[in-house]
Amino acid sequence: MTASNRRRDLSFLLPILIVLGVAGYRYARSSPLDGTWLKTDGVGYLANEMRLQLTRNEFTVRFRRDETMGLAGVEHITFLLDGREHLFEAQPGGARMIYRAELDGRKVVVIKHVAPHRRRGTFHGELGSY
């Protein structure tokens, strides 16, 4: 094998090695929760197919909206895993859902509760809290 042939072989292998390296790095960095999941058992509000991504600070859930309810597109919900309260959902009438999320070992724990109505014009909260 000549030197030019060897160089040609290596140049062909290089992109494959880079792709394998990136895939390996991503696999090594990913958590057991990362990936696409299909519902097999249980009923409830959760979608039949979800994609999850867990990082040190955030937990993201992606799922297709329920087309039978007239909704379209993909919903993204990101929970901040800092153990503090954040707004989850606000309704036009003033009702608000608050969540607190944290990583408990290998488990993501999310606690939601409905917050009391805020009187108009009397907001005294800090920046970042609701």
């Binding site: 958590s31 057991p32 929760l33 990936g35 696409t36 999941w37 299909l38 519902k39 097999t40 058992d41 249980g42 009923v43 409830g44 959760l46 979608a47 197919e49 979800m50 994609r51 999850l52 937990f59 992606r62 799922f63 297709r64 379209a72 597109g73 993909v74 919903e75 408990d104 290998r106 488990k107 993501v108 724990v109 999310v110 606690i111 939601k112």
Partner: protein, 43 residues
């Protein structure tokens, strides 16, 4: 309270909420990747 936990070496996901459990199975990465190429609105 909701909890999300991967069990059985990451093959199963159990979501517990209001005393009820919902179980999911993992879609293999390659299958998920191929589906994302063909399925519109893939999450």
């Amino acid at each position: 309270m909701e909890s999300w936990e991967a069990i059985e070496g990451g093959r199963k996901l159990v979501v517990s909420a209001q005393g009820k459990e919902t179980v999911f199975r993992r879609v293999p990465f390659l299958s998920s990747f191929v589906r994302s190429l063909f399925v519109n609105n893939n999450p």
